[in-house]
Amino acid sequence: MRAIAILAANEFLDGLRNRWVAAAIVLLGATALALLLVGSAPAGATRASALDVSVVSLTSLSVYLLPLIALLLAFDALVGEFERGTMLLLLTYPVARWQVVAGKFCGHMLILFTAVLVGYGGAALGTVLFAGQGVLGWQAYLTMMGSSLLLGAVFVALGYLVSVLVRERSTAAGAAIVLWLIFVVLYDLGLLGLLLADHEQRIGQGLFSILMLFSPSDTYRLLNLTAFEAVSQAAGLAGVAARAGFGIPLLLGLMFLWVLAPLGATMAIFHRREL
């Protein structure tokens, strides 16, 4: 436990030193603020509050941003230390290999947590306090923050898996970008294409919904857009949500599985690695 805490603290301090934390806070805070301020306009006629509406737009944005930030943090985590030669020394210390992975994970999650809390949280707080918006819909907003963090965790774990599998940093960077493209852009495009090509509706609604569960970003979307009725309405997804019929526990469970599976695989591969 001690070793994990030391490694996590080191990773977090490193994030502060090289301005990763600051950059992530500014990025998330600025986009959230912009969307919150713009979000009050379309809210006018509907029953949704500004926070509810902004959950919809922030969800669509987070689905791109958080995986990107998470992968950029994570791709270097192991391969970078191998390449620099610092891993060799670290492993002669009283630290188990799984603790190295766990410690880095905790440190990187602390960075993401700080960025989401200060960035998203600060933007919402600012809107509520100074722009005279109601606090209606804060539960949905908090859920969005929590699930965004979970989405980040998924991609930190996937980034580690890349980092432990390749031999060079540059390969890891490339693989991370490909991973991002596949899970965040291409998979959805594929689904969309499938839907469009399927004139005769041979693919049923059920199968389509299940296909969505194979992508962590879609799971994240479903989680946020269907969790609260007000948000669903703002997103115009009420119908989809009702028909998809996935409960929150299933969606949450899937997200956790997306974190734990790559993380466990990383530990197992790292454990067997000869140095």
Partner: protein
């Protein structure tokens, strides 16, 4: 002597082999290092020195044979075991954005050593002035010192130093070995690898010479010299007119070569050395001057590199 459990032995390797992708990097190595001993591993690049150290550090597992370090298997050693070991990897690297002091504090925490001890160690390696600077601004020598500083954390009982002085200038090199010597005075066992015998002369209790993954010779420096059986070169200056007589007298004792009218060079084995000296002194006034050149350390090294047969 060694009690049950071998508490007098710091390192015990028996028949250790290591293959990487079917290629043998270390072959059938037996090595035993006593507690408090300064053992030096000498060998060419790729001789298997680093691999041998990694095996002893538990970073990789032997394909065959057994490795015991401080009476435990290093691959499964408990945390307490690892705390007793210090390691300076070859061309050590640190996170450049961290300050020297921060780097050492990080390693101290991991090792469970009070961070307040770091200042003293930094002073000991001569980095107290640079402790507040980023490691990326450090010179090669300073990085090596920081590397040694982290290896010294918590007064280790066993030190592994992988080519600690490669790339250092001669002054730094001497300071470095002085530091290591002062550690071994306090009872620390050390295993140091190096390219050069010259560098470790007087700094090693025993020397093991590695070639292509095999230890081809192991012993004290004088034992290695004896074992190599390299000739001693004796150069004589001979008084006018005596050259022929001197040459005739000494020829049976070694390989003789006339340099000029006044000079004779004779190479003889260590075992006949004293007979030769007596014979020379019997020659009296005929020999005006004498130089004795023992085999150079480089010659000894080259001898083992060129002639040693894998066991």
């Amino acid at each position: 002597m060694a009690e049950a459990g071998g508490t007098q032995t710091a390192i015990e390797l028996a028949g250790v082999s290591k293959h990487y992708a079917g290629k043998a990097v270390v072959r059938g190595v037996d090595l035993s290092v006593r507690r408090g001993e300064r053992m030096v591993l000498i060998g060419h690049n790729g001789a298997g020195k680093t691999t041998l150290m990694k095996l002893m550090l538990g970073l990789t597992h032997p394909s065959r044979g057994s490795v015991r370090v401080l009476d435990a298997d290093p691959a499964t050693a408990a945390a307490a075991q690892r705390r007793a070991i210090g390691y300076l990897p070859e061309s050590v690297a640190f996170h450049g954005a961290m300050k020297g002091r921060e780097v050492l504090a990080f390693y101290a925490r991991l090792k469970g050593v009070p961070v307040r001890e770091c200042a003293g160690i930094l002073e000991r390696v001569g980095l107290e002035q640079a402790a507040g600077r980023r490691v990326s601004t450090y010179s090669k020598g300073m990085r090596q010192r920081l590397g040694l500083a982290q290896a010294m954390l918590g007064q280790p009982r066993l030190l592994f130093l992988d080519e600690p002085t490669s790339g250092l200038d001669p002054t730094l090199r001497r300071q470095f070995y002085d530091l290591i010597d002062s550690l071994s005075l306090s009872g620390t066992t050390s295993l140091t690898s190096s390219h050069s015998l010259n560098e470790v002369e007087g700094r090693a209790d025993r020397i093991a010479i590695m070639k292509n993954g095999v230890i081809v010779a192991c012993g004290t420096l004088s034992a290695l010299m004896r074992q190599a059986g390299l000739p001693i070169m004796v150069r004589l200056r001979i008084a006018d007119g005596h050259t022929a007589r001197v040459a005739e007298q000494l020829a049976p004792l070694g390989e003789l070569r006339r340099v000029n009218d006044h000079g004779v060079e004779l190479s003889c084995l260590g075992t006949t050395k004293m007979i030769l000296f007596r014979r020379i002194s019997e020659l009296g006034e005929a020999v005006e001057d004498m130089d004795v050149m023992p085999p150079r350390l480089d010659d000894i090294y080259n001898h083992y590199m060129e002639n040693a047969q894998p066991q």
